[in-house]
Symmetry: C2
Subunit: 126 residues, 2 copies
Amino acid sequence: MVTKQFSGSPDEADLRRADSLAREIFSDIANKWSFLIIEALGERTLRFTELRNEIEGISHKMLTQNLRMLERNGLVERRVHPTVPPRVEYTLTESGQGLRATVDGMCDWTHRYLSHIDAARRRFDV
Amino acid sequence: MVTKQFSGSPDEADLRRADSLAREIFSDIANKWSFLIIEALGERTLRFTELRNEIEGISHKMLTQNLRMLERNGLVERRVHPTVPPRVEYTLTESGQGLRATVDGMCDWTHRYLSHIDAARRRFDV
DNA sequence: CAGAATCCACTATGATACTG
DNA sequence: CAGTATCATAGTGGATTCTG
Protein backbone atom coordinates (compact mmCIF):
# COMPACT_ATOMS: atom_id res chain seq x y z
CA MET A 1 0.00 0.00 0.00
CA VAL A 2 0.98 3.53 -0.66
CA THR A 3 0.23 4.52 2.83
CA LYS A 4 1.74 1.70 4.80
CA GLN A 5 5.08 3.34 5.34
CA PHE A 6 3.44 5.87 7.58
CA SER A 7 1.58 3.58 9.94
CA GLY A 8 2.40 2.66 13.51
CA SER A 9 4.67 5.61 14.33
CA PRO A 10 4.49 8.27 17.07
CA ASP A 11 2.27 11.13 16.01
CA GLU A 12 -0.87 9.31 14.95
CA ALA A 13 -2.91 12.31 13.82
CA ASP A 14 -0.14 13.77 11.67
CA LEU A 15 0.50 10.45 10.08
CA ARG A 16 -3.12 9.88 9.26
CA ARG A 17 -3.11 13.27 7.58
CA ALA A 18 -0.01 12.39 5.57
CA ASP A 19 -1.63 9.09 4.73
CA SER A 20 -4.77 10.57 3.33
CA LEU A 21 -2.77 13.19 1.47
CA ALA A 22 -0.59 10.52 -0.11
CA ARG A 23 -3.67 8.65 -1.11
CA GLU A 24 -5.23 11.77 -2.55
CA ILE A 25 -2.15 12.55 -4.59
CA PHE A 26 -2.04 9.01 -5.81
CA SER A 27 -5.66 9.18 -6.91
CA ASP A 28 -5.13 12.51 -8.61
CA ILE A 29 -2.07 11.59 -10.56
CA ALA A 30 -2.35 7.89 -11.31
CA ASN A 31 -4.39 8.36 -14.43
CA LYS A 32 -3.85 8.05 -18.12
CA TRP A 33 -3.96 11.71 -19.09
CA SER A 34 -1.60 12.90 -16.39
CA PHE A 35 0.92 10.34 -17.44
CA LEU A 36 0.61 11.20 -21.09
CA ILE A 37 1.00 14.90 -20.35
CA ILE A 38 4.09 14.27 -18.26
CA GLU A 39 5.53 12.11 -21.02
CA ALA A 40 4.74 14.71 -23.66
CA LEU A 41 6.36 17.51 -21.73
CA GLY A 42 9.51 15.61 -20.91
CA GLU A 43 12.25 18.18 -20.85
CA ARG A 44 10.55 20.53 -23.25
CA THR A 45 8.37 23.52 -22.70
CA LEU A 46 5.18 23.34 -24.71
CA ARG A 47 2.27 25.60 -25.42
CA PHE A 48 -1.28 24.51 -24.84
CA THR A 49 -1.98 23.75 -28.48
CA GLU A 50 1.33 22.01 -29.01
CA LEU A 51 0.55 19.79 -26.07
CA ARG A 52 -2.88 19.12 -27.48
CA ASN A 53 -1.40 18.05 -30.81
CA GLU A 54 1.20 15.95 -29.08
CA ILE A 55 -1.29 13.90 -27.12
CA GLU A 56 -3.48 12.08 -29.54
CA GLY A 57 -7.10 11.87 -28.52
CA ILE A 58 -7.11 14.33 -25.64
CA SER A 59 -9.92 16.84 -25.67
CA HIS A 60 -9.48 20.53 -25.02
CA LYS A 61 -11.33 20.12 -21.78
CA MET A 62 -9.41 17.15 -20.44
CA LEU A 63 -6.14 18.83 -21.23
CA THR A 64 -7.18 21.96 -19.38
CA GLN A 65 -8.44 20.05 -16.38
CA ASN A 66 -5.42 17.84 -16.09
CA LEU A 67 -3.00 20.71 -16.56
CA ARG A 68 -4.74 22.59 -13.76
CA MET A 69 -4.54 19.58 -11.53
CA LEU A 70 -0.86 19.05 -12.28
CA GLU A 71 -0.21 22.72 -11.70
CA ARG A 72 -2.07 22.61 -8.42
CA ASN A 73 0.06 19.72 -7.27
CA GLY A 74 3.17 21.57 -8.34
CA LEU A 75 4.26 19.15 -11.07
CA VAL A 76 3.81 21.61 -13.87
CA GLU A 77 4.65 25.27 -14.12
CA ARG A 78 2.34 27.45 -16.14
CA ARG A 79 3.80 30.61 -17.60
CA VAL A 80 1.49 33.16 -19.17
CA HIS A 81 2.85 35.70 -21.64
CA PRO A 82 0.59 38.74 -21.58
CA THR A 83 0.46 39.10 -25.34
CA VAL A 84 -2.36 39.12 -27.86
CA PRO A 85 -3.13 36.43 -28.66
CA PRO A 86 -2.12 34.90 -25.33
CA ARG A 87 0.82 32.53 -25.16
CA VAL A 88 0.83 30.01 -22.33
CA GLU A 89 3.70 27.64 -21.78
CA TYR A 90 3.89 24.55 -19.67
CA THR A 91 7.02 23.02 -18.18
CA LEU A 92 7.66 20.20 -15.76
CA THR A 93 8.93 21.31 -12.38
CA GLU A 94 11.51 19.43 -10.38
CA SER A 95 8.89 17.16 -8.83
CA GLY A 96 7.33 16.73 -12.25
CA GLN A 97 10.67 15.59 -13.57
CA GLY A 98 10.88 13.23 -10.64
CA LEU A 99 7.64 11.58 -11.60
CA ARG A 100 8.68 11.47 -15.21
CA ALA A 101 11.22 8.83 -14.33
CA THR A 102 8.36 6.67 -13.14
CA VAL A 103 6.24 7.35 -16.19
CA ASP A 104 9.19 6.57 -18.44
CA GLY A 105 9.54 3.33 -16.56
CA MET A 106 5.99 2.47 -17.35
CA CYS A 107 6.47 3.27 -21.03
CA ASP A 108 9.49 1.01 -21.18
CA TRP A 109 7.57 -1.69 -19.40
CA THR A 110 4.71 -1.38 -21.87
CA HIS A 111 7.01 -1.83 -24.83
CA ARG A 112 8.99 -4.62 -23.24
CA TYR A 113 5.90 -6.68 -22.49
CA LEU A 114 3.82 -5.65 -25.47
CA SER A 115 3.73 -9.01 -27.23
CA HIS A 116 3.55 -10.78 -23.90
CA ILE A 117 0.44 -8.85 -23.01
CA ASP A 118 -1.01 -9.29 -26.46
CA ALA A 119 -0.64 -13.04 -26.08
CA ALA A 120 -2.19 -13.01 -22.61
CA ARG A 121 -5.16 -11.14 -23.97
CA ARG A 122 -5.72 -13.58 -26.80
CA ARG A 123 -5.63 -16.42 -24.31
CA PHE A 124 -8.12 -14.66 -22.06
CA ASP A 125 -10.53 -13.52 -24.75
CA VAL A 126 -11.73 -16.94 -25.73
CA MET B 1 4.43 9.98 -25.92
CA VAL B 2 4.08 6.34 -25.18
CA THR B 3 3.84 5.53 -28.80
CA LYS B 4 6.60 7.62 -30.26
CA GLN B 5 9.24 4.95 -30.22
CA PHE B 6 7.31 3.06 -32.86
CA SER B 7 6.83 5.79 -35.42
CA GLY B 8 8.57 6.26 -38.72
CA SER B 9 9.86 2.72 -39.18
CA PRO B 10 9.41 0.17 -42.00
CA ASP B 11 6.23 -1.78 -41.53
CA GLU B 12 3.71 1.00 -41.06
CA ALA B 13 0.62 -1.12 -40.48
CA ASP B 14 2.24 -3.34 -37.85
CA LEU B 15 3.59 -0.37 -36.04
CA ARG B 16 0.28 1.35 -35.96
CA ARG B 17 -1.19 -1.77 -34.44
CA ALA B 18 1.56 -1.91 -31.84
CA ASP B 19 0.98 1.77 -31.21
CA SER B 20 -2.70 1.45 -30.53
CA LEU B 21 -2.10 -1.62 -28.41
CA ALA B 22 0.46 0.23 -26.33
CA ARG B 23 -1.98 3.04 -25.90
CA GLU B 24 -4.73 0.65 -24.92
CA ILE B 25 -2.55 -1.04 -22.33
CA PHE B 26 -1.54 2.33 -20.99
CA SER B 27 -5.16 3.38 -20.64
CA ASP B 28 -6.11 0.11 -18.98
CA ILE B 29 -3.38 0.05 -16.43
CA ALA B 30 -2.56 3.66 -15.63
CA ASN B 31 -5.24 3.99 -13.01
CA LYS B 32 -5.37 4.23 -9.28
CA TRP B 33 -6.88 0.85 -8.46
CA SER B 34 -4.55 -1.15 -10.69
CA PHE B 35 -1.60 0.47 -9.05
CA LEU B 36 -2.91 -0.13 -5.57
CA ILE B 37 -3.62 -3.77 -6.36
CA ILE B 38 -0.14 -4.27 -7.75
CA GLU B 39 1.34 -2.61 -4.68
CA ALA B 40 -0.78 -4.72 -2.36
CA LEU B 41 0.17 -7.97 -4.02
CA GLY B 42 3.88 -7.24 -4.13
CA GLU B 43 5.55 -10.58 -3.73
CA ARG B 44 2.72 -12.15 -1.81
CA THR B 45 -0.17 -14.26 -2.91
CA LEU B 46 -3.46 -12.99 -1.56
CA ARG B 47 -7.06 -14.11 -1.57
CA PHE B 48 -9.84 -11.91 -2.81
CA THR B 49 -10.97 -10.86 0.64
CA GLU B 50 -7.46 -10.32 1.91
CA LEU B 51 -6.83 -8.05 -1.03
CA ARG B 52 -10.06 -6.23 -0.33
CA ASN B 53 -9.02 -5.62 3.27
CA GLU B 54 -5.58 -4.57 2.19
CA ILE B 55 -6.78 -1.86 -0.17
CA GLU B 56 -8.67 0.69 1.81
CA GLY B 57 -11.73 2.02 0.10
CA ILE B 58 -11.96 -0.37 -2.81
CA SER B 59 -15.38 -1.80 -3.45
CA HIS B 60 -16.09 -5.42 -4.16
CA LYS B 61 -16.98 -4.52 -7.70
CA MET B 62 -13.93 -2.41 -8.47
CA LEU B 63 -11.67 -5.09 -7.08
CA THR B 64 -13.29 -7.74 -9.24
CA GLN B 65 -13.19 -5.61 -12.35
CA ASN B 66 -9.62 -4.55 -11.95
CA LEU B 67 -8.45 -8.04 -11.10
CA ARG B 68 -10.13 -9.35 -14.26
CA MET B 69 -8.46 -6.64 -16.30
CA LEU B 70 -5.06 -7.33 -14.79
CA GLU B 71 -5.56 -11.03 -15.35
CA ARG B 72 -6.57 -10.42 -18.94
CA ASN B 73 -3.41 -8.44 -19.53
CA GLY B 74 -1.38 -11.18 -17.92
CA LEU B 75 -0.13 -9.18 -14.95
CA VAL B 76 -1.93 -11.25 -12.38
CA GLU B 77 -2.43 -14.96 -12.11
CA ARG B 78 -5.70 -16.18 -10.69
CA ARG B 79 -5.72 -19.60 -9.08
CA VAL B 80 -9.01 -21.18 -8.10
CA HIS B 81 -9.10 -23.95 -5.52
CA PRO B 82 -12.17 -26.07 -6.13
CA THR B 83 -13.22 -26.22 -2.51
CA VAL B 84 -16.34 -25.21 -0.63
CA PRO B 85 -16.33 -22.38 0.08
CA PRO B 86 -14.17 -21.41 -2.89
CA ARG B 87 -10.66 -20.14 -2.37
CA VAL B 88 -9.22 -17.89 -5.04
CA GLU B 89 -5.67 -16.64 -4.91
CA TYR B 90 -4.03 -13.84 -6.83
CA THR B 91 -0.34 -13.50 -7.58
CA LEU B 92 1.69 -11.13 -9.70
CA THR B 93 3.18 -12.71 -12.79
CA GLU B 94 6.59 -11.84 -14.15
CA SER B 95 5.26 -8.89 -16.11
CA GLY B 96 3.25 -7.84 -13.08
CA GLN B 97 6.44 -7.84 -11.06
CA GLY B 98 8.00 -5.78 -13.79
CA LEU B 99 5.37 -3.11 -13.46
CA ARG B 100 5.62 -3.24 -9.70
CA ALA B 101 9.01 -1.57 -9.94
CA THR B 102 7.30 1.36 -11.63
CA VAL B 103 4.51 1.51 -9.09
CA ASP B 104 7.03 1.36 -6.27
CA GLY B 105 8.78 4.26 -7.93
CA MET B 106 5.61 6.25 -7.85
CA CYS B 107 5.03 5.46 -4.20
CA ASP B 108 8.53 6.61 -3.35
CA TRP B 109 8.01 9.72 -5.38
CA THR B 110 4.76 10.47 -3.56
CA HIS B 111 6.42 10.26 -0.19
CA ARG B 112 9.48 12.17 -1.25
CA TYR B 113 7.47 15.11 -2.54
CA LEU B 114 4.61 14.93 -0.08
CA SER B 115 5.28 18.18 1.73
CA HIS B 116 6.38 19.80 -1.52
CA ILE B 117 3.03 18.97 -3.08
CA ASP B 118 1.16 19.99 0.02
CA ALA B 119 2.81 23.40 -0.15
CA ALA B 120 2.08 23.74 -3.86
CA ARG B 121 -1.56 23.02 -3.20
CA ARG B 122 -1.83 25.61 -0.46
CA ARG B 123 -0.30 28.15 -2.78
CA PHE B 124 -2.71 27.24 -5.55
CA ASP B 125 -5.86 27.06 -3.43
CA VAL B 126 -6.06 30.72 -2.63
C1' DC C 1 -16.00 -17.00 -0.11
C1' DA C 2 -15.92 -15.29 -4.61
C1' DG C 3 -18.33 -13.28 -8.00
C1' DA C 4 -22.18 -12.26 -11.29
C1' DA C 5 -26.01 -9.34 -11.99
C1' DT C 6 -29.00 -5.55 -11.13
C1' DC C 7 -30.28 -0.87 -10.10
C1' DC C 8 -29.17 3.83 -9.63
C1' DA C 9 -26.59 8.13 -8.49
C1' DC C 10 -23.01 10.52 -9.82
C1' DT C 11 -18.99 11.82 -12.58
C1' DA C 12 -16.21 12.10 -16.51
C1' DT C 13 -15.94 13.38 -21.01
C1' DG C 14 -16.94 15.35 -25.60
C1' DA C 15 -19.14 18.87 -28.38
C1' DT C 16 -20.31 23.36 -28.77
C1' DA C 17 -20.44 28.11 -28.05
C1' DC C 18 -18.64 32.27 -25.90
C1' DT C 19 -14.84 35.63 -23.85
C1' DG C 20 -10.44 38.34 -23.21
C1' DC D 1 -4.68 31.31 -28.56
C1' DA D 2 -6.10 29.85 -24.25
C1' DG D 3 -9.61 29.29 -21.35
C1' DT D 4 -14.41 29.13 -19.32
C1' DA D 5 -19.20 27.68 -19.41
C1' DT D 6 -22.95 24.80 -20.65
C1' DC D 7 -25.19 20.79 -21.99
C1' DA D 8 -26.05 15.88 -23.23
C1' DT D 9 -24.63 11.41 -22.51
C1' DA D 10 -21.72 7.46 -21.91
C1' DG D 11 -19.51 5.43 -18.36
C1' DT D 12 -17.97 4.79 -13.35
C1' DG D 13 -18.65 3.06 -9.21
C1' DG D 14 -21.46 1.89 -4.93
C1' DA D 15 -25.10 -0.81 -2.68
C1' DT D 16 -27.59 -4.71 -2.85
C1' DT D 17 -29.10 -9.21 -3.96
C1' DC D 18 -28.46 -13.88 -5.63
C1' DT D 19 -25.73 -18.22 -6.67
C1' DG D 20 -22.45 -22.31 -6.50
